[in-house]
């Protein structure tokens, strides 16, 4: 058995699923990667409701390619999880469709307007790039490898979001107002997405000790603010936070705290919106389930 100290030591050379990993390491890796996987499989349900409605041919192609990438990410992470735990595709799908809703907070809110997927692509896929770049060094080899392809594609998604938002900002006054309302809706959810400050995070310290993740939640949030506050303002939108300020001396942003109670209740208990995503995906897969069902 590999002790956590040994693992940290050997994390430079990354481990593979067939190696003799401690139960604790396996459990920690499983928890983290399953969460990521489920987000990438359930989240696109929101997007695929909008693919048929994309309002220009260019938007249709760009958005189809983006949502297709997300399916690919779900698949790669599914493969990583399957090899880590030995569960079959069918077992994992059952867990995802019928099990507890362990996925990112942003999928627990309704995406009722075309601006919603566009803002998520722009702001949140942009945020994911920050986090995932650090995961290229993750001690779990298959996860780090998957991240290389995923990261490249998230870069495209961010640009896809910028494009779609840019088109709307060049449109009518009503379209610009709709984008602003979208930013207002998504601002605190996006800040919350990075997770609580690390001293309040339950699993963070262990994941860091195992070299499964590297960046602190708050550090990622700060670096996102540095990048995105100017971007949001540059396209003529307002950041909906009166408390937002940058301290040049400490190099840190202060901001209105998201509702952390809401955040943890979504991640722990789910939401009607999240349950609907699971239900919709279950129903869709059910239609063609005969194709792969065991005899």
């Amino acid at each position: 058995m590999t002790s956590s100290a040994q693992l940290k030591e050997t994390s430079a050379r990354q481990v593979e699923p067939w190696q003799d990993l401690s139960d604790d390491y396996r459990a920690a890796a499983t928890r983290m990667i399953e969460f990521h996987m489920m987000s990438e499989i359930v989240g696109p349900v929101h997007e695929f409701r909008w693919v048929p409605r994309a309002p220009s041919l260019q938007a249709k192609l760009v958005f189809a390619a983006k949502s297709q990438d997300e399916v690919g990410h779900g698949l790669m992470l599914m493969r990583v999880c399957q090899d880590l735990t030995g569960k079959s595709r069918a077992e994992y799908m059952e867990q995802i469709l019928d099990g507890p809703p362990r996925f990112m907070n942003i999928f627990h809110y309704p995406w009722d307007e075309w601006v919603d997927p566009a803002i998520v692509a722009w702001l949140i896929d942009g945020a994911e790039i920050e986090r995932q770049a650090t995961l290229l060094r993750s001690s779990y080899g298959p996860y780090a490898r998957a991240m290389r392809k995923i990261l490249k594609e998230e870069g495209f998604h961010h640009h896809c979001g910028r494009y779609l938002i840019g088109q709307m900002m060049a449109g009518t006054r009503e379209q610009r107002a709709a984008v602003q309302r979208g930013v207002d809706r998504w601002w605190l959810r996006t800040l919350a997405m990075f997770g609580p400050r690390d001293e309040n995070s339950k699993h963070g310290p262990k994941l860091m000790a195992y070299g499964l993740k590297f960046a602190q939640n708050e550090a990622l949030r700060q670096s996102w603010l540095t990048k995105f506050v100017p971007q949001i303002r540059a396209v003529g939108l307002e950041v909906p936070d009166d408390n937002l300020a940058y301290d040049g001396e400490t190099g840190r942003w202060t901001y209105t705290e998201p509702d952390w109670q809401e955040f943890s209740s979504l991640l722990r208990g789910g939401s009607p919106v999240g349950a609907e995503l699971q239900r919709e995906l279950r129903q869709a897969r059910g239609i063609s389930a005969w194709l792969f069902s065991e005899d």
Binding site: W18, S88, R89, A90, K152, F292, E294, D295
Partner: protein, 90 residues
């Protein structure tokens, strides 16, 4: 026995390059694995040829990395490690 099998996918970037392992797809058979692998692993990436191989046909080594290191440790296998008896490089 599950109906879906795991296929390892290997991608060749350009003629003359080696086929390099890029990941897996699950499919009922090799032919379907191939048409699935193409879009999963070669829709964005440069590619001129793909292989798929049933995972159950792959044997993975069970040696620790150190077992491989031992082979590389032999100085006489490297050109820089050779010296004539007078001590001059050959």
């Amino acid at each position: 026995m599950t109906y879906l099998r795991t296929f390892e996918v290997f991608r060749q970037k350009a003629p003359g390059d080696a086929h390099v392992h890029v990941g897996e797809v699950e499919a009922p058979d090799a032919a379907t694995a191939m048409v699935l692998a193409k879009e999963h692993f070669a829709r964005r990436e440069v590619c001129c040829s793909l292989w798929v191989a049933d995972r159950s046909d792959v044997l993975a080594s069970q040696w620790d990395p150190e077992v491989f290191d031992a082979g590389r440790a032999k100085a006489y296998r490297r050109s820089g490690g050779l010296r004539t008896s007078s001590g001059a490089p050959s």
